[in-house]
Subunit: 304 residues, 2 copies
């Protein structure tokens, strides 16, 4: 009798996953990656030239960023399950930066990391399809998207991977749009959450979460609780932890009652956690990633 | 006595404008370009491989797109004042596509065209600054932006050029977000319009328009009238004319009472206006651009 649990990973050409279970749904792959390391930690890679280690200072800009990103990816692999690449930081270096973005995504996947392309893309019709295709080609298994165009325009970004729709951003100025009060009592963010929950219901993995997730900033704990209630099947991508001021207690409402379904991101507090003059800066990044992963494991780990 | 009207263009290194008057404000440059050809016409360049002329069929994808875009730019220059480059169509071809986007923007500027980079970018903090820098480096004097993050996040996109914030998109699904009714009676799109009008007031050119414009779809004539009343100082970038169904009467409410302040975009109906088997396809694009410019000149031209 053939084993019904034969891993399907081998059949999914080019995909690297941490777990053979349910490998054909992006939410299941994400859940498995989090479970494998028992920590919902995501390191955000936002490379900025002025903050790089001094030992890279003599290199051309894109080469310095390449060496930095390679070092960070190698340092955090095995410590956190997910990395988020900030597209803007690469795009500003033109075509060479855009190419590097794809190369770093590929490297991260090869190291077993789930890759989120933080590109905040969005458009209508065929343009949305082109952006989605570009994100997949770059190697982003998940991509951040802007839903101002309506939920149909998110659909292309859910083919061949998942998407996190912007619901509640971590910046104070976001209130001026997202906290506007609707006639029915909801905020704009809550209305966006409802659209995301409804659209996302069409594809839910066996982990109970959808391939359409939501960006919900850590700096909004009160909002997060209300948004979690409206989006029980969404993975929350939670920026704003650490450097932006969000604490463990601030991010707790982003999780489900049983402590699942959120991915907490730290960028600056991990990737720049070195003495700029240090030669072995990557060791310090590895330590910071370990420490960040540990904080979240203590708070939200499922193994006792 | 030195002439007080000495053109300032020579001092603005690297900038190409159609008029020496008020050359240091992007809205003035845009107004001057429209006035010079007496037509508020913008050709949208959304290159898609499957629609290219057959004579380009043997080339590698990016090379075929390059030849097509060069042909279109050369064909429409002098006939319309502005081109809008759809970033998604280039990005989907990776780094080579991204590089080509910059090259086509540069070519268009060299031909005297004002260039809008239709990239729908948006993010918070330093990421917004990186995207803005990327847009300028690519050669987009104007860039389309998404204001869901709040108006402060639009500011970086107004440095060194202008920005069109998404207010009302041309797709039916956009209603689900943009037509939500607020407690104060406004729609979300109207609230976004008010934020854009307020933010935009900080930089208004001598033409009376701001460096912060608005995207308002041609398929919403009723909305357009209300939005124009709320945004008297905004240039409207108006997609949806032609192939998407918008008519001259549909776009009329996007203009001010004296017929200024809007830029009507046509893409497919101009750039694919050829017999695919034709060798001289670019001549047919030139004719279509001339015809499109003429329709708008008849309706909105200021010279009798």
């Amino acid at each position: 009798m053939p084993a019904p649990t034969t891993p399907r990973v081998a059949a999914a050409a080019g995909s690297v996953t941490s777990s053979p279970a349910s490998a054909d749904h992006p939410a299941d792959r994400l859940a498995a990656a989090i479970e494998a390391l028992d920590t919902p930690a995501c390191v955000g890679l936002d490379p900025v030239l002025s903050k790089l280690p001094q030992v890279l200072g003599d290199l051309a800009p894109v080469e310095a960023i390449r060496r930095f990103c390679e070092g960070v990816v190698d340092a955090v692999a095995g410590k956190v399950p997910v990395v988020k690449l900030q597209s803007a930081c690469f795009e500003r270096h033109g075509a060479a930066g855009f190419e590097l973005l794809g190369e770093i995504a590929t490297r991260a996947r090869a190291r077993g990391l789930v890759v989120i392309l933080d590109a905040k893309r969005g458009d209508i019709g065929v343009s949305a399809e082109h952006y989605a295709e570009a994100a997949r080609t770059l190697g982003g298994e998940w991509v951040t998207v802007n839903g101002y165009f309506g939920p149909e325009c998110l659909a292309p970004f859910r083919r061949g991977g998942g998407a996190f729709a912007l619901v509640r951003t971590s910046n104070p100025d976001g209130d001026l749009v997202q906290h506007l009060q609707l006639a029915d009592g909801r905020s704009v963010a809550e209305a966006m959450a409802d659209l995301v929950a409804t659209a996302g219901a069409s594809s839910v993995g066996s982990c109970g979460f959808s391939d359409l997730g939501a960006v919900v900033g850590a700096t909004r704990p009160h909002d997060a609780a209300a948004l979690r209630a409206r989006m029980p099947q969404q993975f929350f991508l939670v920026p704003g932890y650490g450097a932006q001021g969000g604490s463990i207690e601030d991010v707790r409402p982003c999780f489900t009652a049983d402590g699942r379904g959120a991915l907490v991101t730290a960028s600056r507090s991990v990737i720049y956690a070195f003495d700029r003059a240090a030669e072995h800066w990557a060791d310090q990044v590895a330590e910071a990633a370990d420490s960040f992963a540990g904080e979240l494991r203590t708070a939200f780990g499922t193994r006792s």
